[in-house]
């Protein structure tokens, strides 16, 4: 019987084909138990084969945790069933794609997945519900059209992202496309990037002031620059390092104001070598580059990088790509033309206003195909490939807002294009507006998801789209981003209004909640991060959003940005605004709060059952944790007022109080002395691992321990900002710990 391997022989790059064969060999070794499950897990992750929710063979069906008895008695990683469906991530460097590649992606979605192509917040594609046995052929079929899944997951260099407008943008310094591709090619499988303690995400931007490639929130960011040397213009990049969202955000630091283009790859390699040598390996929670940069300080890090660079032997690949920069130059199929005066189809004007970008090249437009939640069907993907062929020189790109763009559309063809997109169900307006909500997979498919980010995004999108015509323009321009947990895959920190999932206990039941994060800045390459201002029940989020946006529309000064308005309002007023939405009715009064959006299952149901309901008894934990939350909020207010030392102290006290809240459940004799609280907490909750999150393990406890150890030592304001965030996460972890203790079976993935 012919196989895809036979069929595609000679059509794949030889080294990629070899790599896939090697992976298939490792699958065989795992089947015969000749390699350890942990080793195999990292192996498959480095090929893009990721775990998916319930792959541990258990699922809460709304009544209780039920076993999922997959047929094979084999694992593909610790606690990961071989037969359980997985997610496959597909790298798309700079988001660049042609119609042939899109068609292959559609074929794979139909043959190996659930018929949906999902665009991620890093310009990748993801296929869900993929069986591990199908992955080698999936990879081969992609390789045959020049796409790889290698190092799409795992402790490796992830997709190299870039602005989807690169090359057609009005404000870019130059087109970063060929540079981003060169970096992708150079680092893929490179020896110096195989021993990282954690993942490494690079991004390219052409402009400083737009959102562009969001370089300031990446491990390594490249901002296009030009300088004049001896009368000649020289291209290069300002390089940022150590940025990141995740649980605790870090703003990137400038490694160099200008690295000439011929040094781009070598300096990156030097950064990777320093990261490999000095980056944390054992504690994955401290292993991202941002921690190394923060620990060493940017000056020391910079010194080490350039020393490393000096010692490296010249590699011709560092500059070879510069001879081939035109490889990615695009030219239109059709002549430019202005939009005619012909009758516009219904809906065209609204779509034109939000989804069409007039390119630098007069008469051409880049059109955003607004994908709800980043999803498109197989049928739509085939149709979009046809549309791209008809209206563009085969130039499609994915975006970090989970959309796709069609570049080089003659403006004279926009009405025809609109109708073609309409026929494919791809003409939704509102790209880049409040309707165009970004969300990570959350509890739909992610193993770490706490709340239903996609369910919430879908609900908000539906409601906002219905009132889009009546929304104030300032509100329309806001960005909403949602993550299912604190890990920030939905990029909630850089939204005007962000949400991340968590949970709270109400009597003996858990209630899905979202933390509200306000004031992040999308523009200026993720210019600043928002701060959490309070948790509200998941079912209250639509009302919260409506309340915030209505007040912003009513109270903003002329031209006042959302960030400025939030700052002017102050955290206390913001907190007060949320207050009415924080109440959770009792289960008997309203069960809807106890399930999440789009999921009728009760959020969790503990073993205690209704019969043992604590009724009106309020536990010591509940009373004390509220005090901790109040203190954490005071820390936020102090931070906002620039009282850094006070914020530091308050954040510390908030963590101590939250720790005490837990300890009080075991002993009333803890007192207020910090060392006592820390010692009691350590022995009762850390050493026993009761506080351990199923995935993050003891990470959140370390926030308290580190601050306690530092007692009195002054730190800079950035470190205090981080501590305030850590205090909030510690409190969330305390809530989760309390919930786990109350209903252990129902809360395997609280944090």
């Amino acid at each position: 019987m012919t196989t895809w391997k036979d069929e595609l022989k000679g059509k794949m790059p030889a080294d990629w084909a070899e790599e896939i064969d090697r992976f298939e060999g490792q699958m065989e070794l795992r089947r015969s138990d000749k390699i350890d499950e942990k080793v195999f897990a990292e192996t498959r992750l480095r090929r893009g084969a990721y775990g998916q929710r319930y792959d541990n063979g258990h699922r809460h069906d709304g009544i209780g945790v039920q076993p999922l008895e997959f047929p094979a008695d084999l694992t593909k990683g610790p606690d990961t069933e071989w037969d359980a469906p997985g997610m496959h991530r597909i790298k798309v460097p700079f988001g660049g794609l042609n119609p042939d590649q899109l068609e292959v992606l559609a074929e794979l979605a139909e043959e190996y997945s659930d018929g949906i192509l999902h665009v991620t917040t890093r310009q990748d594609f993801q296929l869900h519900f993929v069986h591990i046995e199908d992955t080698p052929d999936l990879m081969r079929r992609l390789a045959a059209v020049g796409i790889t899944t290698r190092e799409a997951c795992g402790n490796s260099v992830r997709n190299v992202t870039a602005c989807p407008l690169a090359g057609v943008c009005h404000t870019e310094t130059f087109d970063v496309t060929p540079y981003s591709h060169a970096l992708f090619e150079f680092l893929l499988g490179h020896d110096d990037v195989q021993d990282f303690g954690r993942k490494f995400k690079p991004a390219f931007s052409g402009c400083e002031h737009e959102a562009c490639g969001l370089v300031k929130m990446h491990d390594m960011g490249y901002l296009a620059q030009v300088r004049e040397v001896d009368g000649q213009l020289q291209r290069g990049f300002r390089i940022y390092v150590g940025g990141g969202l995740g649980t605790v955000t870090h703003q990137a630091k400038i490694l160099s104001e200008f690295v000439p283009e011929e040094e781009l790859l070598s300096v990156t390699q030097a950064v990777c070598r320093v990261f490999t040598k000095l980056g944390e390996k054992r504690n994955r929670n401290r292993a991202r580059l941002k921690f190394l940069v923060a620990n060493l300080g940017i000056d020391e890090f910079k010194k080490l990088v350039f020393e490393e660079r000096e010692q490296m032997t010249f590699d011709p690949r560092w500059t070879a790509y510069l001879d081939d920069l035109d490889r990615f130059a695009e030219s239109p199929d059709e002549g430019a033309g202005a939009l005619g005066s012909e009758a516009r189809p219904s809906g065209f004007d609204g779509w034109f206003e939000t989804n069409v970008y007039h390119q630098r090249q007069a008469g051409y437009a880049t059109v955003t195909v607004n994908l709800p939640l980043g999803d498109l069907s197989v049928e739509q993907a085939f149709e979009l490939a046809d549309i791209a062929r008809s209206y563009t020189p085969d130039t499609i790109r994915t975006t970090v807002e989970q959309n796709m763009v069609l570049r080089w559309v003659p403006e004279s063809q926009l009405t025809d294009l609109y109708q073609a997109l309409q026929g494919a169900g791809l003409s939704a307006p509102g790209a880049g507006t409040i309707v165009d909500i970004t969300a990570c997979p959350g509890t739909d498919t992610c193993k770490l998801g706490i709340a239903a980010s996609r369910g919430l995004a879908g609900e908000l999108r539906t409601r906002l789209a219905a009132q889009n015509g009546s929304l104030d323009q300032a509100v329309k321009d806001l960005r909403v981003k949602i993550s299912g947990c604190f890990n920030s895959c939905g990029q909630h920190h850089v939204a005007d209004i962000g949400f991340f999932g968590n949970s709270r206990r109400r009597q003996e039941r858990l209630v899905p909640h979202f933390q509200v994060v306000l004031g992040g800045k999308w523009k200026e390459n993720a210019g600043s991060y928002g701060l959490a201002v309070g948790a509200v029940p998941s079912k209250a989020v639509p009302d919260v959003l409506e309340s915030i946006t209505a007040r912003y529309a009513a109270e903003r000064d002329d031209g006042e940005s959302f960030q400025d308005w939030v700052t002017r309002l102050g955290k206390v007023a913001v907190k007060l605004m949320l207050q009415p939405f924080t109440e959770v009715p009792s289960y008997e009064l309203d069960t809807s709060y106890f399930s999440d959006w789009g999921d009728p299952r009760e959020f969790t149901l503990g073993d205690l059952g209704v019969g043992e309901c604590a009724g009106e008894v309020v536990s010591l934990f509940s009373i004390t944790i509220v005090q901790a939350e109040g203190t954490a909020f005071e820390a936020l207010v102090a931070l906002e007022a620039g009282r850094s030392e006070e914020a530091d102290e308050m954040a510390y006290r908030a963590m101590l109080t939250a720790a005490k809240a837990l300890v009080l459940g075991q002993t009333p004799f803890v007192g207020d002395e910090p060392s006592n609280i820390v010692n009691e907490f350590r022995s009762r909750f850390y050493d026993t691992e009761l506080f351990f999150d199923p995935f993050a393990k003891g990470k959140f406890a370390q926030y308290l321990f580190r601050r306690h150890q530092r007692n009195g030592e002054v730190v800079d304001s950035e470190a205090v900002t981080r501590l305030v965030e850590e205090a909030n996460l510690f409190i969330e972890a305390a809530h989760a710990c309390d919930a786990r203790q109350a209903s252990p079976a129902a809360s395997s993935s609280l944090l």
Binding site: Y54, L68, E107, D114, V378, E379, Q380, F382
Partner: protein, 195 residues
């Protein structure tokens, strides 16, 4: 026939418009009830926001049960993915697979009988063989393949009174047929909408 498609999808059509939202709690309840003994039901995927796609999917290890609106007509599709029975050695393996997929679709439709959703259209279905490797090089209206499908449909529904036409679709898409059957030979009688 030495053709063994990795996936086969059978779609039955609803008699009336459906509200995909109704299927979310229904599919979750099927998981709770372990509704199909021979399927390991895993989860419900919600794609109501995607036009022309699988709207709601009950994902099982062996197959997906889909509220399918892909071609503009709402239907209940059964997509068999793995766990194919070996069948009798004397049987044509392709026909065994088609039969398995038909059985799954019928089983799913029967499970809908008591649910507050529209009934299934009596006299028609669509069937796709989803495997580009196995099907490469075959003519678009392969008479041998059509004949095999027809034979199995005829045997399965115990009728010779049926028409099987290849779906006139984009050549990039999977090979599919549309079949018409006498309404009285239907496995799942059409039922009226609940009041």
């Amino acid at each position: 026939m030495d053709l063994l498609p990795a996936r086969i999808k059978v779609k039955l059509f609803f008699t009336d418009p459906v509200e995909p939202n109704d299927f979310v709690p229904l599919f979750h309840s099927w998981i709770q009830e372990k509704r199909f003994e021979d399927h390991l039901l895993v989860d419900v995927a919600d794609y109501r926001h995607v036009p022309q796609g699988p709207s709601i999917i009950l994902v099982a290890h062996e197959a997906d049960f889909i509220v399918d609106i892909e071609d503009g007509r709402a239907g209940l599709a059964y997509l068999r993915k793995r766990g194919w029975p070996a069948g009798d050695p004397s049987d044509d393996p392709l026909r065994v697979r088609i039969r398995t997929a038909l059985s799954g679709a019928v089983q799913a439709a029967a499970a809908l009988e008591s649910a507050p959703v529209p009934g299934i259209e009596g006299g028609e279905l669509a069937l796709w063989l989803i495997d580009r490797l196995s099907l490469r090089g075959r003519p678009e209206r392969d008479p041998v393949l059509l004949q095999t499908i027809r034979q199995e449909l005829s045997a399965f529904f115990a009728t010779d009174d049926l028409t099987v036409e290849p779906l006139d679709r984009d050549s990039r898409r999977s090979f599919g047929v549309h079949a018409r059957l006498p309404s009285n030979s239907l496995l799942v009688p059409s039922k009226s909408l609940p009041a």
